[in-house]
Every structure is written in C-alpha cells, then in structure tokens.
Symmetry: C2
Subunit: 501 residues, 2 copies
C-alpha cells in the first residue's frame, strides 16, 4: 500500500508512474524500469475504484519516499484521487488492442472495430510512447487501403465529442500547412461571416512551425473556448477562430501527434484522417482544403498534390463531408510576418486595408473565400471573388472580425519584440524563392511561437527586385541571446533566399 | 544559466531533462515538453566543455527550482559535471543519422556507414524512445537484405568494445531463448572447460522471461565482471559465466532492446544481428546456436527454424565466425525449476549427479557439449557425447564449475522462498506438452526474476503419466500477495498442461 503523490511533471499525454527503488526491493515487488504498472485506489467519498496504468520510472532520491507512488500530471488527473490516498500498484497487461497493432505491422488489414479499439485505448492514455510509435508506423508503412483509411478517420471522429449546429450548411477551410505566415483563415472567416455563412473554425497551435492559426489568433483574442462558449460566439458573430485543443474534438489525433512530431514523418493517410476527422467533428458540412505545392513546402510536386487531392475526395465522400480542393503554388511565406504577433499585424493590415498590407495574403484570402462562397454560399461559379472583394473593401470583413474578437474576448496587441536585427540582401536580383523550412527555423530560433512577439519580418518578398546591401528581413526576439541564435542560424544558411528568374 | 541537479530517476538509457515551467516562461525560452534540448557546461577542473542532449519534461512543483535543470540518472552520468555546476540549455537539432532511419523507413537501402552512423548516435543515447522505435521498426518492416544485415551486425560489433584472447580457438554457445528453465550453459561450460576448451561465456539477464542465465548464475556467483576480472577468471578456470551487460559488448543492442521489449516484436534479422554481434565481441571464434522449436516457443515450425539457421550461417560466414546450429524440439520447460534460485538448484543437481536431478537438462547439456567438442575441440564426429558424459560423470565438470564459481566470487545459496503453493493435476493422463509462455507467466507473477527465490518448480514434466489430483507443480514466492498472484494466474489458465499422446 502506497500514498499517492502528485508530481507536476508534464510528459504530454504519457502516463508516467514514479516509484522509489527501495520500495521495489523492500516490498518484494517484481517491477523493473519501464514496466507497465497499474495504480488502483478507492475514492473515499463515493466508494468507487479508480485505476490508471502507466510506464514505471524508478527513483532513488528525495523526489518521492519509499511509501509513496508518484504520478505525472496527466496520470494524476486521470486517476482522479486526492493526494495522500492509499493506492496499490501491480504489473498490468498490455492493452489487448496492441495485438491488432502488431497484426497491422505484419501487413494484415484492420476493420472498423479494430481501429475503434485501438483509438479507444489511445485516448485513455493506455499506450506508451513506444506503442504509439508502433501504431503510427504501422499505418505509415503498411499501406492502408481506402476502407481502412475511412475506418481510421471514423475511429478518430468517434474518439471524442463533436460540435453540432442547428443551422446548416456549416463552412470550413483547412490548409495542410508548411507555409510560414499564410494566415488566410483570419481573413477568410470574417469575409464569409460578413456574407452570412456560419464558420465555426477550429485551428491548432504550432506543431513544428513558428506559429499556428490558434497562436496568431491568440495574440488578439481568447482562443481556448469550451463548446458552450464557442456556440455563443457563433450565435453572436456567425464565425469564430478557436483553438481546437480545448474542444476535445478527435483527441486520438492530438495524442498521435505527440509521436508524429519527433518522428517528422508525414504520411498522406494520416494527414487525410487527421484533417477530415477534425473538420467533421467541428460540425462542418462543407470544407475547402488548400494544398500548397513548392520545392520547400510539404508537398513538392503537382503529382503528389493530385494524389493527395484524390485521397481527400474519396474519404470525404465516405464520411459525408462535401469538399473542394485547391492546389496553390508556394514559392515562399505568405505575408510579411512569421511568428504570432507579426502575423496578427499582417491580418489586421489586410482587414483594415492599411497601406503596405501584404498583397499576397489579401489575394490568397480572397481566392479561398471565393471558392468557399461558390461551394456552399449559393454563389455561382465566377461570382465568388467579386463578393469576397466587396465584403473586404467595404469594411464588412473588418467589422465581422471585430465582432468575432469581441465575442471570444479581446486581448490588447502586445508591443513589438525588444530586440531586432536587420539582414541585408547578399545579392542583386529578383527574389525567386524563399525557403519555407529555413526561414521558419530562423523564426523558431528567435523564440517563436513560445515568445509571441518573436519571429521574422520580411521586408522584401518573392518577385521583388533588390540590390545587394538593401534591407531584406528583420529578426525579432525577446532576449538578446535568442536574437543571436536566430542571427547565427540565418548567417549560416545563406541559401534561404534564392535569386533569379 | 541554470544550476545542475542530479535527479536519480532511472529511465533506462533515455536522457530526460527536467526544467521548471516558470523558467521557460520567465526566461523567454521557447521550449515545449518533449523538445530535444542540449545542456552544456564547463568542467571547472579541466576547462573542457561537456554536453548532453535529451528529451525535455516540464515540472511545476518542488522537484526542481526555476533556476535548476534536472537530469535523469544516465543523462547526469553522461554529462559528467558536478551537481550545482552552471549549465546552459538550448534547443538541439535531431541527430543527422535520423535522416538515414527515415530513408530506411521509406524502403531505401543502408550501407555500412549508414548503420555505423545510426548506432554511433544510439550508444551515445542521442535517440529518444520514439526515435529508437523508428529504427527498430524500420529494420523489422523494411526487409534487410543480406548485405544490410551483415552491415547492421558489424555496426553492432563496432558500437562497443570486444574481448580478446591470446589462445584460440574460443568456444561459445547460445540458445535463442523462449524455453523456461533450460540452463544448459551452466552445465556445458564446465564440461568444456574440464576438457581444456576456453569458454568465456557471457549471458544476458532476463528480458521478458522469469530468469536469464546471468540471473541464475548470479545466485551462485558474482556475474558482473569487468573485462580485467573476466580475463583473470578465464586464466584460472578456463571458462566463465558472466553477465554481458557489465562488459560493454555491442552496447547498441542493449539500448535497442529497451524498446524491443515493450514492442514484443522479434524479427529474425534483429535476432541474428544481436546474437552474432554478442558472440563476436565476446571473443568467440566458434559458436553453437540452439534453436528450440515448439508450438509455444519462439520458433514454431521446422521451416521457420531452417530459415533462421540459413540466416545465422550466412551472416556468421561474413563476419568470420565459425558456427554450428542445432534445431531442438521444445515441448515444455527444461529442468524442474523456473526462476533464478530454482534453476540454480537444478544445475547443481546435474553437476553433482544427485538422485532426482533433471534428466532432460542433463541430456540436452551433454548433446550440446558434444556438438561443440566436435566443432572446435578436435573430437571426430560421434565421439563428443562420450567425452562429455565422462567429464560429467567423473565429477570433472563439477570441479570445473567450482573453479569458475570460486574465481568469479562465490555466493551462498539463498534459502527457498517462504511461501509455497502446490497445484494438483486437473486430469489423468500423460503430459503431452507444457505451455512455455504461460508457465513462465506464472513464475513472473510470483516475482521471478526480481525475487531470486520465486518461481515455479515442476514436480512432473513432459512424458510423465499422472493421476488427477496428484501434485503437478509448486509456486514459490517471497510474499503472500505474490503467491496469490501466481496462483490466480495459474488457476485462470487451465491449459498450461496438455494431456494425451
């Protein structure tokens, strides 16, 4: 019998259980480090038994005593017993669904109930990081056929709650990512809302990028809306730009991402299941998907983009979601800013039609809005662009954005970062391309997205003609050390900008 | 700047770095949980820079203060700076060799330098558990061709040190495992040593079984011999039975096993690379490999065993190791005992020719010894068995074992476990088979191998005719709770013994 101790150690979703070495020896417990162990106790108030399983770590020093069992943040939350409660610990069997993962690794097919079982255990944090890796790689390496991909998508949809709206249709959009800046969502949603569409947009925070839409919107407004607040925002403003993480939509996907991120493996199947399950659970009936193609973006060839488009269309049809797909050219970031605050400034400039507002962000947003209006807004082909442009230029989108921000809870724009360094152009010529991956690395080295004012501000962009020595871009940072890290990275990667025609 | 803190948390080989949430926020550090971070400091005495990279965990409570960085056991050892030293932390890039792992996952071939680079980083603990999983699964799922398998084996050999002996040949043996009991090594090595062969046997501790040879030998003698002591033991006794883990032989393999174990994925390629690299680095020139085949052992069909034999032979030839392979029938455990002490008692009984000594252990040991004598000892085919039998029956092997035990450092045989429960036969008839996997689980539930006296003692074995209600086996445990766990497991798995002809 042990006393429960809460160790506020954030291991993301993994359950980690800490035990003192002496307890294992003295108590004749046949445990070894990394064993799967279950911790069981009784809630004194209700008399119910609570249990959590996790991965065992041994300790020797003052972290915990020999009569205590320590639980990491999420494990403690999931056990839901008070600190100091009496608990027992025992070796736990692996979840049965792991056998299905192994059979998939051996090349067998999984059916709907197979994917359901696996994700049921995943969202209960019963899989260790190693086991999550097994599942992700099984799906990545043993090609899923269409039925399996549909089953995986449905299992992700079923792994959590879904938003439901009374008035249909519900419009949504999604970009598969990889392009710094590119905050079209924050322009498109208010345009659509100002034209009467319902757009409950949920976005993610950055996974490997210097900012996600939720990070950028979070600069200007509260984005952590639980479902009830989100419904109220939609009711009053017609649209929202919320962080999906607070909503419990397709939570299995969020857990799988914790291993996909360090693996840096993007597979088409997982991308399709992840994106479409998020759209579906956010209540969308119609969605536009943006696939940017470029030599430094996620998708690098037209053929790959078309294959991905076909996959999106095939799965969407099976889960009863109407979609359109656009394949866009990507030769560099969209907008001037890279990093939460700098991108938010771009969005405000476009919505307010400020001189110097980034034209690429404006034009791409209008193009995407037009496609959605034609998909779901009752606009006939060729008329969407004009409607979107009028809504933007007449200030309707600006007003709609102000309503959304007010409904979500406005935040004051933070001051610019204190430290700034300007880079000069290393060459004369026309900027042919900007390396999306490398410029994002510079912004991350400078502290984005954790430091919301940090990042990169382009002074010139793709297509511009510059002279050697002219200012090309700025690095913004909240400490001199980070400014230095960004500067060093940029200086040692000279090919971020390529010049020519 | 942080002060270094040693957190005695055993995460096996993974480097885990603990930082206080407030330090990340207040210090404008763009870190997130599970980021890869490097910790750098200067050794005041020598002026040299020390660095370690690891996976970041965030903490909120008293585990560490905001001005401290905590390191897990192995990370602290690898950084090799005193507690309280000034250190810096920064985001670290992933090891370059991960790109090779990704290319293997995509089905590309790796050459020798590719495997070398990957294992170089693995043994420096630069791979997180997720990344280790990627490599293991890449090798498991993307079939390695023979050149690649040889390259992987050579890379494992090169990942650590090797033992070297002046007098050749050096004999060795290895069983691929899966059969409880089966402590033939502890009988074969003294037989061979008594006949003048040099047998520097290194063995592993249990990975998923109730006892490894190192656990069982560890009951009777010290097995943690560093190389210098091992050489001295060989010089005085001609043989040893040591724990491989203390020797730094093929350490990459030991690290890969930390993820292979929870995955419970055995692939032929990894098994071959693992076993042959261990034999080669232990200094062997000749080795006998035992592949037990049975419906509940690791290899389940004669074809699978033959395929594995071919793979062993092909790789052994390329790394200049002379091998012989025996495929043995496995219809249950070998010997009476399962668990370190109980197996040690069996070994002593065979060596001492005690009445009731397990005949299956004796006969299998003589058979294996004979094959080795014919492979490397200069005995012509058909003469090895007789020589081995004479060595055993004349007490020469017993004396050789006593010399080995004395040279390694004798330990007194511990008392039997305090708690014991006897199981009666559920049926009349001849015992046709004993399920190796399930009987091992019973022993593990009872506490083996962590509790060295715990385990199972068979009273009847395969081929015996029993009456219903007759004593069949005992469970031994060091606590009543564990006895209960073993008993419950055995009672709920009635098919451990199958009866018939």
């Amino acid at each position: 019998m042990f006393r429960l101790k809460h160790l506020a150690i954030d291991t993301l979703s993994e359950h980690v259980i800490f035990i003192h070495e002496d307890a294992v020896r003295g108590g004749n417990l046949g445990f070894r480090p990394l064993d799967r162990v279950s911790v069981v106790g009784i809630d004194a108030a209700t008399g119910t038994t609570h249990e959590v399983t996790g991965v065992l770590n041994f300790c020797r020093n003052a972290l915990i005593n020999a009569d205590e069992i320590g639980l990491s943040e999420v494990a403690y939350r999931d056990l839901a017993l008070a600190e100091g409660s009496d608990v027992r610990a025992a070796l736990a069997p692996a979840p049965k669904s792991l056998d299905l993962v192994r059979s998939k690794l051996e090349g067998k097919r999984l059916d709907q109930s197979g994917f359901d079982e696996i994700l049921f255990d995943v969202v209960r944090n019963r899989y260790s990081k190693v086991e999550l890796s097994m599942f992700v790689l099984a799906c990545a390496l043993q090609t899923l056929d269409l039925d399996e991909l549909v089953a995986l998508t449905r299992a992700m949809i079923g792994s959590g709650t879904s938003l439901r709206f009374q008035h249909k249709p519900i419009a949504d959009k999604h970009c598969i990512g990889g392009i710094p800046g590119n905050r079209t969502t924050m322009v498109v949603v208010p345009i659509l809302a100002s034209l009467g569409l319902t757009v409950p947009k949920t976005s993610s925070r950055a996974i490997t990028s210097p900012a996600g839409t939720a990070d950028t919107m979070g600069v200007l407004a509260d984005v952590a809306l639980e479902p009830r607040r989100l419904y109220r925002v939609i009711e009053s403003a017609g649209g929202c730009i919320a962080w999906g993480g607070a909503l419990g939509l397709a939570p299995a996907d969020d857990i799988l991402i914790t291993v996909e991120r360090p693996m840096e493996i993007d597979t088409e199947a997982q991308m399709v299941a992840s994106i479409l399950s998020k759209k579906k659970t956010a209540g969308a009936t119609h969605a536009l998907l943006d696939i940017p193609v470029g030599s430094t973006s996620k998708v690098r060839s037209a053929q790959a983009a078309q294959r991905l488009e076909q996959l999106f269309r095939a799965v969407a049809e099976r889960i009863d979601l109407v979609i359109d797909v656009v394949i866009t050219e990507a030769r560099g970031p969209i907008g001037w800013g890279i990093g939460p605050r700098l991108e938010a400034v771009d969005v405000l400039a476009v919505l307010r039609r400020t001189p110097g507002a980034p034209n690429d962000l404006r034009e791409k947003s209008l193009y995407l809005a037009a496609r959605i209006l034609e998909l779901v807004g009752g606009y006939s082909p060729g008329t969407g662009y004009r409607a979107a442009q009028q809504a933007l230029d007449a200030g309707k989108a600006e007003e709609a954005f102000a309503r959304i921000v007010a409904a979500q809870g406005e935040r004051p724009l933070p001051p610019p970062a204190q430290f700034c360094h300007t880079f000069q152009s290393p060459a004369d010529g026309r900027i042919r391309e900007i390396d999306c991956w490398e410029i994002a690395r510079v912004a991350k080295q400078a502290g984005a997205p954790a430091n919301i004012s940090a990042g990169v501000r382009l002074l010139r962009t793709v297509g511009d003609i510059v002279a050697k020595g002219e200012p090309l871009f700025e690095i913004h940072a909240q400490s001199s050390a980070q400014l230095e890290m960004g500067r060093t990275y940029a200086e040692s990667h000279a090919a971020i900008f390529s010049f020519g025609f």
